[in-house]
């Protein structure tokens, strides 16, 4: 029973760590792209909508909060 509990916790930690990485990378990328597009309008948004990265960051951020230790 104890072993099962530990396995579950380890799994939770893995998803939390993975979500933390995804959150950091997507949030920083989104921020950088927004700044670049603010300085040179159209540089990013003519080709790619950085809102998608913000959505990914939000979802991963929510997972981090839900799986909080």
């Amino acid at each position: 029973m104890k072993l099962k509990f530990n396995l579950l916790k380890k799994k939770e930690n893995f998803w939390r760590q993975l979500s933390t990485i995804i959150f950091r990378v997507s949030f920083v990328s989104c921020l950088v792209l927004f700044i670049v597009d603010y300085l040179i309008p159209g540089f990013v948004t003519n080709w790619f909508n950085p809102i998608w990265l913000l959505i990914v960051a939000l979802i991963s951020g929510l997972i981090v909060v839900i799986f909080k230790e």
Binding site: K10, N13, F14, Q17, L18, I21, I22, V25, S26, V28, S29, V32, L33, I40, P41, G42, F43, V44, T45, N46, W47, F48
Partner: protein, 170 residues
């Protein structure tokens, strides 16, 4: 087991972000870029023709019913020349020219094509060459118009547009 996997995932994500940056730089520093108008579809770089009550879509062709009709181009500051290729067929309306906004409000300068030639089945091609540095812009949006004239003796007519292709050059 999980730590190396997380490291690999981190590496993949960081490389993807760098790849996205390189892809954007590559896309924006082309020597020239061709943008084609798609009926009823606002593209990030090129808007549809408007206002809507002056344009009708019929069998993938855009019909200009009244003059002028406008379109917006969102381009980057290092592109200085614009070539517009317009393939059209007059049906009660003639093409007068293409204009660009020179100041706030309704301030446009209209230019006749530098090259005009006849194609098969009554279609005609008009090519315009414009200096983008002289176009008034708000943020990165430059507005253009297509001016048409009703043919003599015809009150209601249309100008059928087969394709509107814009080439921006550095």
């Amino acid at each position: 087991m999980q730590k190396p996997l997380l490291k690999i995932v981190t590496l993949i994500l960081i490389l993807s972000a760098i790849g996205l940056g390189i892809w954007l730089i590559n896309k924006n520093f082309f020597q020239q870029l061709v943008i084609k108008s798609i009926p009823e579809k606002n593209q990030p770089m090129l808007s549809t023709l408007g206002p809507q009550d002056r344009v009708r879509i019929e069998n993938d062709y855009q019909l200009i019913l009244d003059s002028p009709v406008y379109f917006d181009l969102r381009t980057l500051p290092w592109f200085s020349r614009l070539r517009i290729s317009l393939i059209y067929r007059p049906a009660g309306r003639e093409l007068e020219g293409v204009g660009w906004q020179v100041g706030p409000g309704f301030q446009y300068q209209i230019k006749e094509p530098i090259l005009s030639r006849s194609l098969a089945d009554g279609w005609q091609e008009a090519i315009f060459d414009l200096d983008l540095t002289k176009v008034y812009q708000q943020k990165n949006v430059k507005r253009f118009l297509i001016s048409t004239l009703a043919a003599e003796g015809q009150e209601r007519g249309e100008l059928k547009i087969q394709s509107l292709e814009l080439t921006v050059e550095r």
